[in-house]
Assembly symmetry: C2
Homo-oligomer: 351 residues x 2
C-alpha cells in the first residue's frame, strides 16, 4: 500500500465509500472490508424507480462520466434520475491493490471478476437504497461488460441496459491486446514483481502501456487525419508524451493489472455453463447495444452478434472516427449528441 | 557480427549474392560492399522483357514467396517469366546489422530507406542482366512500399506494379505500431543497446514482439473464429508459443530494428518534395492496388486513397479474414486463387 497522489478526492472526487463488508470473490479469495467508491447525482424518488447505475471502464473513474456523460437537460439528467456512478473494484478508488493494507495488498491482491463487481454493486444498490429496479444500467468498455453481466445476472432488476463500446464476452484479440499491456508494464525492471514503492518507479512501463493504447485505441484514420491537433498538440510525439503518457503514468501498475485480468475474462456465459445464447436469452431489459463504428477492440461485428442473441434489443452504432477511445468524446459534440439521442430514446421506452 | 543459425542457405536458400559495391545511403552513410541476396526462377528471354521483380516484407525473406507465391501454371509462372526475388537490405540475408563485420556492424549499422533498397535493386537489375523494362514489380507489406517506390522512381522501367497489403506512405498508426515493436525488443535488458552476442540473448524481447504481431497482425474475427486451429494448434497460447514465437525468436533484433526504421519512414512523396499526388502522378505502370480486406495495418481506405491518385490503376481488394498476416496465406487456396487471378489479369494488360 502507498499513498497515491492521483487517486484522491481532489482529482476524482467528490466520492463516497460504501462498505460492502467481507466479500468472497468467485476465484475463492476474500476481500475484507471491500469498499466501493461511488457518487450520486439527483434524488431517488419515493417509488424508487428512477435509479440509473453507471459502471467504469479500464483504469477509468467515475469522474469522467460525471464531467462528460451526465448533465441537466441531457439524457442522463440528474433532475429526472437518481444517477449512481460506481468505480469498479481495483480501479484505484474502490478497494484496489495499491490502497489495500497488509499481506493481501499490492501484488498479493486477489483476482477479481466482472461478476464480483456486479454482485458487490448489487449489494450496495439494494441494501443501501432499497432499490428493486434499475431504470438503466450503462457503461463504456469494461463498464459495458459490467452492464451485460447486470442484465444477465439480475434480469428482473434491470429495466434497460446500454452497453457502450464493449461486449458481453471479451474476444480473443481484445484479451491478447490486454495481455500486451500487462507485459509492457511488468517488463519494466522496476516493476520488480509488483514490489515497487509507488507508480513513479514504473514510469517506463506505464509509458510503454500508453504507447500501445495510442496504436490500438484510435482508428488509423483518426491518427492519419491528425485529429490530436484539435486537442492542442503539435505532433504525434507531443500527443503521446503530454496526453497519453500523462494519462497513464499517474496510475498504479498493479491496479491496472487487476483490471486487465478482469477484462481478459469477461464472459456472461459463465452464468449458463458457457452457453452464450442462453445467457443473453435470459435478459429482460430493453437493450441498446452501442458500439463505436471504428472500434477495433470491440468491433461492431462482435457487438452486433451479441445483440442478435438478445431478445428485446437494438443495435445503435455510434458514428465516430476516433476508434475505441472515442469513448472519451474526442469527436466532441457529435459524439455526445449521438450518445444522448440513443440513451434518451432508450429511457423513453417502457423498458 | 555473429553466425546466425537462422539466416542460412539451408533455411532460406538457395540464394545468390549480388555485390552492389560501396553504396551511399540517402541518410549519408556508406555500406561498403553492399550485397543483395536474391534468387531467380525461369529464363530471361532474348528481348529481356519478361522479367518480374518481387520484394520482401518486414523480416521476411524470398523463400516464402518462392514456396507460396510462385509456381508453374500460376500467375507468377517461371515457365513464362524470369522472376527475380530480392531480399531487402537489413533482412538478415542481404547486408544486415548482424552479418556486417567491423565497426559498422550490429548497433552501428546505418539507417536504410526504402529508396536505398530500390536504388540498389535497380543497379542489380540493370547492370547484372541489362534489363531495361520490368514486366512487373510486386511485393507485400514493406515489399509493397518498395513496389510503389519503384513505380514512382523509375516510371519508364516499371510496366506493371502490384503493391499488395501495403501503402506508398506509411501511415502514422502503422509507424506507431512499428515503434512499439522496437520498444518491445529494446526493453529486454539483454538487448543491451544492441551489444548482445546472438539473437538468443534477446529471446524475451523477441517473444514480446511476437505477441504484438498476434494482436495487430490478425483480424479480430480470425482470432475469434480460432482459425489457428486449422494450422494444428490447440489453443491461442499454443499458437503464440509454437507459431508466432517460433517465427520471431530466430530473427536478429538489430535486423528487425533496421527494417522497422525503414518501414516507419516509407514515403514516395520524398521524390516530389512531399507532394504525394505529384509522386503518384508520375507513375506510368499499370497498377493493381491490392489491399487485404481486413488489414488494420494498411487499411483498404488508405490503399484506396493512394490508388485514386495513381493514373492507370485499379483497386483490387483481396477478400481474406486473416488481416495483414493474410499475406502468409492463412486462408489457404482462397487467398492464393485471388492473388493469382489479380496478378494474372494485371500481367495480361498491356502495362
Amino acid at each position: 500500500m502507498y499513498q497515491s497522489d492521483y487517486y484522491t478526492q481532489d482529482i476524482h472526487g467528490p466520492y463516497d465509500l460504501y462498505d460492502v463488508g467481507d466479500f468472497v470473490l468467485e476465484e475463492g479469495m476474500t476481500i475484507r472490508g471491500l469498499q466501493l467508491a461511488y457518487h450520486t447525482q439527483g434524488e431517488l424518488n419515493a417509488a424508487k424507480d428512477n435509479a440509473i447505475l453507471i459502471c467504469t471502464w479500464y483504469c477509468g473513474t467515475t469522474k469522467f462520466y460525471e464531467q462528460y456523460y451526465i448533465g441537466k437537460g441531457r439524457a442522463l439528467d440528474p433532475d429526472k434520475y437518481f444517477i449512481i456512478v460506481v468505480n469498479q473494484i481495483g480501479n484505484g478508488l474502490s478497494t484496489s491493490p495499491h490502497n489495500t493494507q497488509g499481506a493481501g495488498g499490492m501484488a498479493a491482491f486477489p483476482h477479481v471478476r466482472i461478476s464480483d463487481d456486479v454482485r458487490a454493486q448489487h449489494k450496495m444498490v439494494t441494501e443501501k437504497w432499497g432499490i428493486k429496479k434499475l431504470a438503466l444500467v450503462a457503461g463504456g468498455s469494461m463498464g459495458s461488460e459490467q452492464t451485460w453481466e447486470w442484465a444477465v445476472r439480475y434480469p428482473e432488476m434491470v429495466q434497460r441496459a446500454a452497453p457502450i463500446a464493449g461486449t458481453a464476452v471479451t474476444t480473443p484479440q481484445c484479451a491478447a491486446f490486454s495481455r500486451t499491456l500487462d507485459e509492457a508494464r511488468t517488463s519494466d525492471p522496476n516493476f520488480n514483481g509488483g514490489n515497487y514503492k509507488t507508480n513513479h518507479d514504473v514510469e517506463i512501463g506505464l509509458r510503454r502501456e500508453a504507447a500501445l493504447w495510442t496504436v490500438f485505441g484510435f482508428s488509423p484514420e483518426w491518427l492519419k487525419q491528425e485529429k490530436w491537433r484539435a486537442l492542442g498538440f503539435s505532433s504525434i510525439e507531443d500527443f503521446q508524451v503530454n496526453f497519453m503518457d500523462a494519462c497513464f503514468t499517474p496510475m498504479d501498475p498493479l491496479d491496472l493489472q487487476n483490471n486487465a485480468w478482469k477484462w481478459q475474462r469477461a464472459d456472461v456465459s459463465r452464468n449458463t455453463n458457457g452457453d452464450l445464447a442462453a445467457a443473453l436469452g435470459r435478459i429482460k431489459a430493453k437493450v441498446f447495444v452501442m458500439p463505436i463504428a471504428t472500434d477495433h477492440l470491440f468491433p461492431v461485428a462482435d457487438c452486433a452478434a451479441e445483440q442478435k442473441l438478445t431478445p428485446n434489443s437494438e443495435l445503435r452504432v455510434i458514428d465516430s472516427l476516433a476508434g475505441h477511445l472515442g469513448l472519451f468524446g474526442f469527436d466532441g459534440k457529435a459524439y455526445f449528441d449521438q450518445l444522448d439521442k440513443h440513451l434518451g430514446e432508450l429511457l423513453a421506452t417502457r423498458g
